[in-house]
Symmetry: C2
Subunit: 772 residues, 2 copies
C-alpha cells in the first residue's frame, strides 16, 4: 500500500513534468516559426497573418525579445479573459459548452471539498479505528487516517458520512439542474441567433422505397409535393461516391509525393530525384520520381473523370436517400418531427445535419440492416469490454514491486531502492493503464460508423458513451477489484445483488492512493502535455519542410485539431466518478480532482481560443449525455457507499441511503423531461419566429438556388473539374457568407476557412487528438 | 404433492361447474325476460326490440318453445359465424383485436403442444430419473413421469429440451411478428376507413402558460393563429366542472329514489311511502318520501344552476388546457407530433382522445406535479406488490391439508377423507388466490387516475401493465417460491444473479399440478361463469322491478358492461407465461391452456357480439403492450429453463440457452421499431389522403360548427337546462351521425346509443366486470 511519501514522490514527479511541459510550451509558443502550431485558429479566421513576412531574418524564426520570456505564464490570464458570448462567436457553442463541463467539475467539487475537509476529515482523523486495527496487525498508511477506514466498526460517526452523502447529492443535483437549464437556454439562444443555414430548411429522408416506374429523385419529389404541398421546395439525391472519394484521396497522396520531389529537386537542382516503382519503393525499375508522379496523377485524373461520369449516369449509384428542402423552417421542423408513411421503415425523416458533418457512406443503409448492425455492435462491444482485460491484468500485475521482483529478479536491487520503489508504485500503474486507452477511441469510432449513424456528432456521441462504459468497467471497477473484467463479471454473476456493492465498496478506500496517482499522471501531466501539442508541432515542421509550396499548403499543414469529444469527454467523466465516489469516503482525493479541473479548464480554454478548429457545430447536442453520465456516477457513488457502510457495521443506515439513488433517478427523469427536448426537438414557435423575422428583413430572398446545391458530396465539391452537372457547386459555406455578410455582419465567418471534411466521407477514423 | 387422481377430481369439479354454468346460461338466455341481459348490444344498436311487446302473456316472460331448449349449445357456432370485418363494424376494432389475443394463444400453443407431446413427452416418459430418485426416497407423482423431472441428472436427453426451447422460441416469435403485422395493418385500415370524427382534427393542448394580459382562451387562440396560421380553425377551453359533476351525480341518485317511491306508490296506492330523514333513513323525522325527494331535487337543481353560473363566470374555473381543432387532419397530425414551444413543459400537444374517453379531471395537472405523482405511484405500487403478500401467504398456508389440520384440528377426520383431501388440494389454493385478485384492478385503476393520464385508454393500459407486474410477482413467482413477495425480494437480493433462475427453475416442475388446478378454476370455470353474467342478471331484474318507468330507464338498466381490458388482459398474459414456461418442462400443462384459450375465445366472441358495449374505441392502441408482455413471458421462460437445466447437471447447455433471450430481446426491439409507430404516431401521408378524399367528396362541408362543440364536459352535455352559453350543445355523437348518416351509410351507428361516459368524469373507478 502506498504511503504519503509515495504520493509525495509521485506528486513531485508529476508536478515537475507538468511544469516542464508548461515551460516548454511557454518558450515554444513565442517562437515565430511555431506560430502556426500554437495559434492556428487565428490564422484560419484570417485575423493573424504569418510572422514570417516582417522583421529581421533571425526574429522571423526565433524570438529574441527577452522580456517575453519573463512573461511566460501570461497565456493563463489571456485564456480566461475572453467572455463566454465572445467565445461562442469565436469557437462555436460546442466548444463553449464543452468548457462548461470542467466548470461544472469545479462548481460541484470545490464546495464539496470544503465541506468534506471541514467536517468529514476531522471526524475521520479523530477516530481510532486504525489504531485498533493495528493491534490486529492490519497495516495502513497515513492517508487512511483521513479516510473512512479510520472509523471504528459500528460507530455512530457514520451518521456524519450519511448526512454528508445527502448534502453532496443535493448539491450535485442542484448544480446539474442549474447547468442543464443554462445550457439548454444557451442552445436555444444560439439556434435562434444563427444565420440562415441550409440545414435549417432541410430534412434528411432515408429509406425511400423503390418504385419500378420512377427514379428515386422523381419519387421523392412526388411524395413531398403531395404530402407537404405548401412547404416543399426542392431536394437533392445522394450519390454513392465512395469509390470516387477513394480515387480523389489517392490522387491527393500522389500529389503530396510529387510536391515533395519537386521541392527536393528545387533545392538540389544537380540531380533529379529517382524512385523505384516496386513495393514501398524498395525494388523495381528505377525511374525519374517527378515524371513518374506526374504520369500517375494524369492516370488518376482520367480514372476520376471516368468514375464521375459513371456516378452521374448510372442510376444505381443514387442511394435511396435525399436531402429535402422546404420553403420555411416551419415546414422543415414539421417534416423532421412527423412520421410520413404508415410504414415506419420507409420515408424516415430527421433533421438534416450540417453539410460538413454528414457521414455520407452510411446514408443508404436499409432499416433491417441497421437493426442487425446494432445487435452485432452491442455484442462486439460486450466482448471488447470484457476480453480487453488480458493485457491490463497482465501489465498491472507486472507493474507492482512484487511483480517486477518475480518476473525480473535481476532488477530486484534496483526496485528495492526507495526512490525507484516509490516511482514504480506511484507512477507506473497509472501510465500503463493510460497507454492501453490511447487506441480505444478510434476503435469505438469505427464501431459507431459500422452501426450506421449518419452524422459525425451522433457517431461521436455513441463512441463516447461506449468509451465511458468501457472506462467504468475496465478502469474504475477493474482497478478497484483488481482483476480482469471477465473475472469480475463472473464473480458478480455468482454474488448476490446486495453483495456486489459491498465487495466494491470495501475496496474503495484501499484504492484511494492508486487513483490519486492516476489523477496526477492522467489529469495533471496529461493536460499539461496537451497544451504542448508535441505531435502537431513535429508534424507541422516536417510537412513545412518537405511539402509546403504555397500558402494554402501551409494552411493545410497546420492541422489545428479539435476537441475530439468522443475521446476526451468520457475521460473527464471518470474524474466526476472518482470525485463523487471518494467524496464521502476519502476526501483527501478531492483537492487533486479540483486541481485537475482547474488546470484542464485553463488549458482547454486556451486551446479552444487559439488552436482547435471544430469540424462541425452540433449546438451542444451532447449535453444530455454529459448530464446523464454525471447522474450515473452519482448513483454509483451512492450504491457503493451503501455497500461500504453495510460492511462497516452501519447497516441501519442502508434504508436512508437507499432513498438517495431513487430520488436521484427521479431527478434524472425530471431533468430529462424538462430539458432534454431542447436538444432533440425543434419547437415550431422558434421556427416560426425566425421565418417571420427573415421574411420581414429580406422579403425577396430567393431560397431555391441557395439550397439547391447545399448538400453535395465533398468529392464533388472539392473537385476543380468542369462539369455540366456540378460546375457551379461552390461549397455552401462560401455561399452562406456571400449572402449573409452583406446584410448582417457575420459572427461565424470561421466557416469560411473550415477545412473541407473530405477525409471523413471516406469512412476513415479521424486521427486521435494529440493529447491521447 | 398432488397426484393424477387429485387433478382428476379437480378437473371433474371444474368441468362440472363449467357445464352447469353453460347449461344455466343456455336456459336463461332463451327466456324472453332475460333478453336484455344477454343481448344488450343488439338493443343498443337498435336492431332488436323488446320481446315483451308481442305474443302471449306467458311467452313474454318464459320460453315455452321446447325445441329451443334442445338446441341449447347453438350459441357456439353462432358466436363463430360472424366474420372479422363484420365484427369490427359491429363492435369496434378494440374488441376484434382483443379476441385475437386468445387466437394468438391457440396459434402459439397448439403447434407447441403437438411438438411437445410428440417429442418431449416420449423422451421424458422413457427416462428413469424418478425411479432412481425413488431409491433415494424422493416421492413423485405420475405427472412428474411426463415432465423434465424424470430425466436423470446430466443426461444427454436435455439436448432435446434445448432444441425444443429454440423451436418454441422461433415459433412464438414468428406468430408474434405475423400478428403484430396483421394488427398494425388492421389498425391503419381501420383509421383510414373511419368516418369524419372530431378527434381526427383535434389536438389536446396542456400546460398553457398563464398570461397576465390574456385569458386562457385568447392565449390559445393567439398562439395557434401565429404558429399554425394556415391550419388553425378553432378551440375549446376546458372547464373545471368537478363540483358540478358531483352535484349532477347526486341529483341522479335522488331521482332514482324518487322513481322508486313513485313506482311503489303506483303499485300500492293505499299508502304513501314514508322515510326518515336521518342517517341512512334509520332515524329522524318521518316525512312523505315522494314530497321529500321532489323537494330535494328542486334544491339540487338550484345548486346546479348556481354552480353552472359560477363555472361560466369565474375565469379561475377555466383550466390551462384546451382542445384545438385544425382545418385538416394534416394540420392536426403535425401539431400533435411536434413540439410547440422551446420550453418542453409548456404547450404540450398530443392527439386528442375521443371525446367520450377524455378523463376530464386530469386535464389541468401541471408538469412538475405529474413527475411527482408518477414517483409516488411507483413507490406505492412497489409497496402494494411486496406487502400484499401477508394475506396470500397466510391463506395459502391455511389451505393446505397440513395447515388445516394444524389450525383446525377438529376438521382432521374430515380432511383426511380422500375426496375432501383431493378437493382441498386441487381446488382451494386456486380459489383463494382468485378471490384476492378481484379488487386489485380497481385499486390499480385509481392509482393510474392519480398519476394523471388524460384518456381512459391510457389509464387502462397503465393499470393493465401494473396488474401484470403484480401477477408476475405475486401469482407466478409467489406460487412457485411459495413465500411472501417480500421474502422473495429479500432472498433474491441476497442470492447471486445466476442463482435466482436456478431457485425458481428448480421449483417449476414441482408446481405444475398447482398451476393445472389454477388454470381449471380461473380459466375454465371462471370463463364459463363470465357468459352467465350472474351479477348483471340480478341487477337488471332488481332495477327493472324497482326503478324502470320508461324505455330509456330500461335501456340504462341493461348495463351491457365491456371488456375491461385492464382487468382481463393481464390475466390472459398469465396463461401465456405459464404455457411458455411449462412447454419445455411439463408439457402436460399445455392441453389445459389450450382448452382455456379455445373456451375463452368462444365465450368472449359471443359476449362481444351480443353483450358488451365498449365505452370508447382506441383502435387497438393496446397491442404493443400485449406483444411486449408475451415477449417478456418468453424471456422469463428461457431464463428459468436455463436455471433449471444448470441444476440438472446440464450446465454445458447454458451458453446455447443464453443466446435465446438476447435474440428474443433484439426481436422485440426490431418489432418495436418496425410496427409500434403505427400505434403511436400519425403518418402525414394517411392524413393527407383522407383530407384529399374528403375535400373531393364534400367540398362545401363546414367544419367549424361541426368541431365547435365536440369537446364539452359531459355534465354540460347531459344537462337539460337552457343556457346561453351551452344551450345548443348536443352531444357530438348525435351531430356526428346527423352529419354523416346522410352522406355515407355509417357503420358506426352504435355510438348513437353509447351510454354517456358521465360517471367517468367524476374520477370514480369503474365497476369491475362481472367476471371478476
Amino acid at each position: 500500500m502506498a504511503t504519503l511519501g509515495d504520493i509525495g514522490v509521485a506528486a513531485t514527479i508529476n508536478i515537475l513534468t507538468a511544469i516542464i511541459f508548461l515551460l516548454a510550451f511557454a518558450i515554444l509558443r513565442i517562437q515565430p516559426f511555431n506560430d502556426r502550431v500554437y495559434f492556428p485558429k487565428w490564422y484560419l479566421k484570417g485575423i493573424r497573418s504569418s510572422p514570417l513576412h516582417s522583421g529581421a531574418l533571425v526574429s522571423k524564426f526565433v524570438n529574441v525579445n527577452l522580456g517575453s520570456y519573463l512573461r511566460f505564464l501570461n497565456w493563463m490570464p489571456a485564456a480566461l479573459k475572453m467572455p463566454e458570448p465572445e467565445l461562442i462567436d469565436h469557437a462555436g457553442l460546442d466548444s463553449a459548452v464543452y468548457l462548461r463541463i470542467y466548470l461544472i467539475g469545479l462548481k460541484i467539487f470545490v464546495p464539496i471539498a470544503l465541506l468534506a475537509w471541514s467536517i468529514l476529515v476531522p471526524v475521520n482523523w479523530t477516530s481510532e479505528g486504525l489504531q485498533l486495527a493495528k493491534l490486529r496487525n492490519v497495516t495502513s498508511s497515513d492517508i487512511d487516517k483521513l479516510s473512512i477506514s479510520n472509523i471504528e466498526r459500528g460507530s455512530d460517526r457514520f451518521w456524519t458520512h450519511l448526512v454528508m452523502a445527502y448534502a453532496f447529492t443535493f448539491w450535485t443535483c442542484y448544480v446539474l439542474m442549474k447547468e442543464y437549464e443554462k445550457v439548454a437556454a444557451m442552445r436555444l439562444a444560439f439556434l435562434q441567433n444563427e444565420q440562415r443555414r441550409p440545414d435549417q430548411f432541410t430534412v434528411l429522408v432515408r429509406n425511400v422505397p423503390a418504385d419500378p416506374d420512377e427514379s428515386i429523385s422523381e419519387c421523392v419529389e412526388h411524395f413531398f409535393l403531395v404530402n407537404h404541398p405548401d412547404h416543399y421546395l426542392t431536394h437533392q439525391v445522394v450519390y454513392n461516391a465512395n469509390d470516387l472519394a477513394a480515387l480523389v484521396e489517392q490522387k491527393k497522396s500522389t500529389q503530396n509525393w510529387l510536391d515533395y520531389y519537386q521541392l527536393k529537386y528545387m533545392r538540389n537542382q544537380e540531380q533529379r530525384p529517382k524512385i523505384k516503382t516496386g513495393f514501398l519503393g524498395l525494388w523495381g525499375k528505377n525511374v525519374d520520381a517527378i515524371d513518374h508522379y506526374i504520369a500517375e496523377i494524369e492516370k488518376l485524373n482520367e480514372q476520376i473523370s471516368e468514375e464521375r461520369k459513371k456516378v452521374k449516369k448510372d442510376d444505381s449509384s443514387i442511394m435511396p436517400a435525399a436531402f429535402v428542402s422546404f420553403k420555411t423552417r416551419w415546414g422543415a421542423a414539421v417534416c423532421a418531427q412527423t412520421q410520413q408513411s404508415s410504414d415506419p421503415t420507409e420515408w424516415l425523416t430527421e433533421w438534416a445535419p450540417e453539410a460538413r458533418e454528414v457521414f455520407w457512406s452510411n446514408l443508404a443503409i436499409p432499416y433491417v440492416s441497421l437493426t442487425v448492425r446494432r445487435l452485432i455492435m452491442h455484442i462486439a462491444f460486450f466482448f471488447l469490454t470484457f476480453f480487453f482485460m488480458i493485457p491490463i491484468a497482465f501489465v498491472q500485475s507486472l507493474a507492482s514491486i512484487e511483480g517486477i521482483e518475480k518476473h525480473a529478479p535481476f532488477l530486484k536491487s534496483l526496485v528495492e531502492k526507495d526512490l525507484v520503489k516509490s516511482f514504480i508504485q506511484g507512477f507506473l500503474p497509472g501510465i500503463v493503464l493510460k497507454l492501453f486507452l490511447i487506441f480505444l477511441p478510434s476503435i469505438l469510432m469505427v464501431m459507431s460508423k459500422f452501426e450506421g449513424f449518419v452524422s459525425l456528432s451522433s457517431l461521436e456521441r455513441r463512441a463516447a458513451s461506449r468509451y465511458y462504459m468501457f472506462n467504468l468497467v475496465n478502469v474504475f471497477l477493474g482497478s478497484i477489484i483488481a482483476g480482469s473484467a471477465f473475472e469480475q463479471l463472473d464473480s458478480f454473476l455468482k454474488q448476490s445483488a446486495n453483495q456486489i456493492p459491498r465487495t466494491v465498496g470495501v475496496a474503495i478506500p484501499i484504492k484511494a492512493t492508486f487513483f490519486i496517482t492516476y489523477i496526477m499522471v492522467d489529469g495533471w501531466a496529461g493536460v499539461a502535455g496537451e497544451i504542448l501539442r508535441l505531435k502537431p508541432l513535429i508534424f507541422f515542421h516536417i510537412k513545412n519542410f518537405f511539402l509546403v509550396k504555397t500558402e494554402k499548403d501551409r494552411e493545410e499543414a497546420m492541422n489545428p485539431g479539435q476537441i475530439n469529444y468522443h475521446a476526451t469527454e468520457p475521460r473527464i467523466q471518470l474524474y466526476f466518478l472518482l470525485g463523487l465516489v471518494y467524496a464521502p469516503v476519502t476526501p483527501v482525493l478531492l483537492p487533486f480532482i479540483i486541481v485537475f479541473f482547474a488546470l484542464a479548464y485553463l488549458v482547454f480554454r486556451h486551446q479552444i481560443i487559439n488552436v482547435y478548429n471544430q469540424e462541425y457545430e452540433s449546438g451542444a447536442r451532447f449535453w444530455p449525455d454529459v448530464h446523464g453520465r454525471i447522474i450515473s456516477a452519482l448513483i454509483i457513488s451512492q450504491v457503493l457507499l451503501m455497500g461500504l457502510l453495510s460492511t462497516k457495521g452501519a447497516a441501519q443506515s442502508t434504508p436512508f441511503l437507499l432513498v438517495l439513488p431513487i430520488l436521484t433517478f427521479f431527478f434524472h427523469r425530471f431533468c430529462k423531461g424538462r430539458y432534454e427536448p431542447a436538444f432533440l426537438r425543434h419547437p415550431l414557435k422558434d421556427a416560426m419566429v425566425k421565418d417571420t423575422l427573415e421574411k420581414a428583413r429580406e422579403p425577396n430572398f430567393n431560397l431555391k438556388p441557395y439550397l439547391q446545391k447545399a448538400y453535395i458530396h465533398p468529392v464533388f465539391r472539392d473537385d476543380h473539374y468542369e462539369d455540366s452537372r456540378f460546375d457551379d457547386m461552390s461549397s455552401y459555406c462560401v455561399e452562406d457568407s456571400d449572402d449573409e455578410c452583406v446584410t448582417v455582419p457575420t459572427k461565424r465567418q470561421s466557416r469560411l476557412n473550415t477545412p473541407a471534411a473530405s477525409h471523413v466521407s471516406r469512412g476513415s477514423s479521424r486521427s486521435p487528438p494529440s493529447k491521447c
